[in-house]
């Protein structure tokens, strides 16, 4: 069973946020109003987190793209009272919207704040609904959602592969953010496959995971800036 994971090269990331917008487009993420955004109700499964350090003129800025880390030992799934978020046998941390009761416990448990809550009924100004991705559902009010590693793309790829009697090829399944990244900073693939790029990069001396001491064992690795 493949163990899909991501490696993000911070040396390459330029903070352009193409990944963020690609994700919004792929996953039918509702558009926030300025007020909602101001109140912290904006949803953005992928987010670029800046780190500004130092004082003028010795200043550095780092950009850290942050999807859901799909931890191997996810703290969020333990606390869900209804099994709406759980780690499946492929290692994805899934979020099942029609089961979620909206208690937001998992949002508290996630130390990386990757989970988002639907504070309102989803709204789109007509005719923006036309660009809904039919492979991703629109989440109702009151449930928690988060990055799925574009799991629906895997489903399609698997289907195609099975129709052709073969396994899913590495490049066939890529989340939207990976696909769009203009600098190629995001790598995706099977962490357990010794031939995959992510397998190699995850063992790079530059590789680290965020807050490794928390023991969540994220499947998203970062490569530090050179």
């Amino acid at each position: 069973m493949a163990r899909y994971g991501m490696v993000i090269d911070l040396d390459k990331c330029t903070g352009c946020q193409a990944c963020v917008v690609a994700c919004k487009s792929e996953n039918n993420i509702p558009i926030s109003t300025p007020e909602e955004s101001e109140e912290g109700r904006k949803i953005s499964w992928m987010e670029v987190i800046p780190r500004v350090e130092g004082e003028y003129p010795h200043v550095t800025v780092k950009f850290i793209p942050r999807p859901c880390f799909h931890c191997d030992k996810p703290p969020c799934t333990l606390v869900c009272p209804v099994y709406a978020t759980y780690k499946n046998d492929e290692g994805f941390v899934a979020q099942i919207y029609p089961r979620c009761i909206g208690c937001r416990y998992c949002t508290q448990a996630c130390p990386y704040t990757v989970k988002y809550f639907n504070w309102y009924k989803p709204r789109w100004d007509a005719p923006l609904q036309a660009c809904f991705n039919p492979e991703v559902s629109v989440r109702p009010a009151g449930v928690v959602e988060k990055c799925t590693f574009c799991h629906h793309r895997l489903m399609k790829a698997k289907e195609k592969a099975r129709g052709e009697n073969r396994e899913v090829r590495g490049e066939e399944y890529q989340p939207a953010c990976v696909q769009s990244c203009p600098t190629g900073a995001i790598y995706f693939g099977d962490l357990d496959d010794p031939k995959s790029t992510v397998h190699l990069l995850a063992r790079d001396p530059r590789a680290f995971r965020i807050m490794e001491d928390l023991g969540a064992e994220p499947k998203v690795y970062y490569l530090s800036e050179k």
Partner: protein
């Protein structure tokens, strides 16, 4: 206890009422929101096209499900973006489905700017416009038809605009300022326009404030290259960024050199000084291809000082270091790195050249390329070869030529600049008044921040036509507003250039047009037919597609290049073309066109090196350094840096406007982009003013507090964000926000920085001078 019938009825009746009362709130929550699309045939296709939201010409693939454009992805075959895409490219679907798009041609009903419109048919729109043109023609003043154009359209559309004006007899094609900002320098030193760079092969980029990673005409291509040279890959391209405010580009550069605002030219000349003093420049190249380096004797027999003399005398390292505030060792390090790493590129953009000494800055920065011999070499400065062009019937010779609407001294560049046009219009100094103003992809009322003044000046123009897909600030003031189809609904052929590879991206309609819109090309053809005469015979097409067809025919018969294909094949074609060979991939024109549309464009990987006559088209046929240019243009040679530091004690800070990636070349109208305005500061849907933490402390301003930003030109209220990447004497405001029109997502979000800029024209290039505004911060409550 017995359960009686009455009891039962009583209880159940009560519960029914209760359920009824509770029903509405409950059901509004409980009923699943069904957003699933209506039942369609379930067909899914990926249609290639070309993004036109900025001048990059990225190839895109549009995922169309049941006739709806669902998602945009990069076209892997496009040499520009290689399957990648910037945030703006993804948002093209929002442009298509924008709720506020214009749905029908509109004709003004009330007074100008009153906002009252009546929908009219295209026939009526064409008639109205054609009648006016006929009238001008009969009155023998076709020159009073002024066409204003921005960017965001293809080659053929551009050509049709030019042709329309020529055939009608108007010399007044006015072009909105280019944010590349270096055109003047290319024109002055090389006598050409449209110079580009070979980012893929360069090893060092010396960037004078250029927003390489935020907004430039090869953004996604550059990001591709940048990514390929970082991380696990070898052959790191060094990036040195010189700028006062730490931008995204600066943050990602290998070396960021903070510098006093507006001292770029001095810094560049300081580097030139070191190169010349230490003999690090490319002597062979200088001798062979340049002029104005050494002193020379002019026609009058006077000794003229060349670059060498001036630089060695006036720009000593100590002097430069003092003026620019860059430490000596950094200056030396930059100069030596630049000299010793070959190939290297020095470049700049509007961040440096939309300043009072912008023309000079552009020229001296560009001259650094000549000093290290980076002209016309792999990894250096390139000039895209011209594209094959479709044959069109010759224009009738009797078209009268009148003097352009701008005074002749404003014509350094081959095109008429927009900002001086409006300056002169506002000050009533045009040689003659325009009778018809046609606006295409330009929105001057917003752009220049002088809304009221420009609108007032527009009052004296009898007919204003705006061609746009969203109502904007200028269109609100027009007499005719004509809806343009979105990028995903029309045909275009978009030229592009990516590190030596020339290409034409094809944009094609991927969905049936949502509204009653018409591409500009079609409109012009229809108008030409309605006007008749020479104009009509200049457009022997039924519609725009026919005109485009002619262009595609030209590509097919040019005997070079190929429709987009995989990189291996492209490399193969390059090596063939390098030997002067070419094999056609497609046997027939039909096959060629089919493939073109299937793959998304045409590419010619071959770049003809070693053609100096093409590269240098100055009077001397050489690269001209600034002393020679100055003499040619009759400009006195500047000595020392132009005063840059704000001297007004009333306004102690220096205002640095800038464009975040998503707002460069527009973008405020698209909600996804409004949600990701800045990668550094967490502000969405609003403007902000960046302040150095020390300055903020001194002023008692807290992060997020709303403050007044005041300049001699006006003041705006916005929130302060503390950012340590800003010099203590600077404030920065993002541009591109604060629309009062332009759709619901742009309207009223933030403030337009242009309103508080003291925008004079930059001498000789006529850009609005954005980087010369002193400012101060006032607390709202004091």
């Amino acid at each position: 206890m017995k359960l009686t019938r009455r009891d039962f009825l009583k209880w159940s009746g009560g519960t029914a009422v209760a359920a009824g009362v509770l029903h509405r709130p409950l059901s509004s929550l409980l009923q699943a929101d069904d957003f699933s699309s209506e039942w369609g045939p379930g067909t899914e296709t990926y249609i290639p096209s070309t993004c036109l939201l900025c001048p990059c010409a990225c190839g895109i693939l549009i995922r169309v499900v049941d006739g709806k454009a669902v998602k945009i992805e990069g076209n892997p075959l496009s040499p520009v973006n290689q399957g990648k895409l910037c945030p703006k490219g993804h948002s093209a679907v929002l442009e298509l489905y924008h709720p506020d798009r214009l749905k029908k041609p509109l004709k003004r009903a009330g007074k100008r700017g009153e906002g009252k419109w009546v929908s009219i048919s295209w026939e009526e729109a064409v008639q109205t416009f054609a009648e006016k043109l006929k009238e001008l023609h009969h009155q023998k003043k076709p020159h009073t038809f002024v066409f204003l154009k921005g960017n965001g359209y293809g080659l053929t559309t551009g050509k049709m605009i030019e042709r329309f004006l020529q055939a009608f007899g108007s010399p007044n094609l006015v072009i909105s300022p280019s944010r590349s900002g270096m055109d003047g320098a290319y024109w002055a030193t090389q006598g050409v326009s449209g110079v580009d760079y070979d980012f893929s092969h360069t090893r060092l980029i010396l960037s004078f404030g250029a927003s390489l990673l935020e907004g430039q005409k090869s953004l996604v291509h550059f990001m591709n290259v940048f990514g390929n040279s970082r991380g696990e890959n070898r052959g790191r391209m060094r990036l040195i960024q010189i700028e006062p405010r730490l931008s995204v580009t600066g943050a990602k550069a290998d070396l960021w050199v903070p510098i006093q605002p507006n001292t770029y030219a001095t810094f560049a000349l300081g580097i030139a000084h070191i190169l010349i003093r230490d003999g690090l420049y490319d002597k062979e190249f200088i001798e062979k291809f340049t002029a104005g380096f050494e002193d020379w004797i002019d026609e009058e027999g006077k000794v003229r000082e060349g670059l060498k003399t001036i630089v060695l005398r006036d720009y000593t390292v100590e002097h430069v270091s003092e003026v620019t505030g860059v430490p000596l060792d950094t200056l030396l390090q930059v100069a030596y790195e630049f000299a010793r790493t070959r190939p290297a590129i020095a470049l700049s953009d509007w961040n440096a050249t939309w300043a009072p000494d912008g023309f000079f800055t552009a020229i001296v920065v560009h001259s650094l390329n000549a000093l290290v011999g980076s002209m016309d070499v792999p990894g250096g400065v390139l000039l895209p070869p011209s594209l094959p062009s479709g044959e069109l019937p010759p224009l009738p010779p009797d078209t009268p030529t009148q003097a352009p609407i701008l005074p002749p001294e404003k014509a350094l560049l081959p095109s008429l600049p927009e900002w001086p046009f409006f300056q002169n219009l506002m000050e009533n100094r045009l040689p003659y008044m325009p009778e018809v103003l046609f606006l295409y992809h330009t929105n001057p009322v917003y752009e220049y921040g002088k809304g009221e003044k420009i609108r007032k000046a527009l009052d004296s123009i009898p007919l204003i036509v705006a061609y746009t897909s969203l109502m904007n600030e200028t269109a609100e003031y027009a007499d005719l507003v004509l809806p343009e189809p979105s990028v995903l609904e029309r045909w275009e052929d978009v030229p592009g250039f990516a590190s030596g590879t020339t290409l034409v991206g094809i944009a094609q309609p991927v969905v049936t047009p949502l509204y009653d819109t018409l591409p500009l090309g079609d409109f012009l053809i229809r108008v030409a037919k309605a006007v008749g005469g020479s104009l009509s015979s200049a457009f022997p097409f039924e519609n725009f597609e026919e005109a485009l067809e002619a262009q595609l025919n030209a590509l097919f018969s040019a005997r070079r290049g190929t429709p987009f294909t995989d990189p291996l094949e492209v490399a193969n074609i390059r090596s063939l073309e390098e030997r002067g060979w070419w094999t056609p991939v497609e046997s027939s024109l039909e096959d060629f066109k089919t493939r073109l549309l299937e793959k998304g464009g045409w590419v010619d990987p071959y770049y003809p090196y070693g053609e100096p006559s093409r590269i240098y088209q100055t009077p001397t046929r050489q690269f001209e350094f600034f002393p020679l240019v100055w003499k040619r243009l009759g400009i006195p040679t500047p000595t020392g840096p132009i005063q840059s530091a704000p001297s007004d004690p009333e306004y102690p800070l220096f205002l640095l406007p800038y464009f975040p990636l998503v707002l460069w070349n527009g973008g405020g109208e698209l909600p996804w982009l409004q949600e990701v305005l800045s990668p550094i500061l967490p502000v969405n849907w609003d403007s902000w003013v960046e302040i150095n933490p020390e300055t903020a402390k001194k002023l008692g301003v807290e992060d997020g507090e709303v403050v007044w930003v005041e300049t001699p030109a006006g003041r705006v209220k916005t929130r302060a964000k503390v950012y340590s990447g800003l010099p203590p004497d600077g404030v920065a405001i993002p541009a591109g926000l604060g629309h009062t029109s332009y759709g619901r997502y742009a309207r009223g979000k933030g403030i337009p920085v242009a309103e508080i800029l003291t925008q004079d024209s930059v001498p000789h290039t006529f850009f609005p001078s954005w980087f010369s505004t002193p400012a101060r911060i006032r607390k709202v409550r004091e």
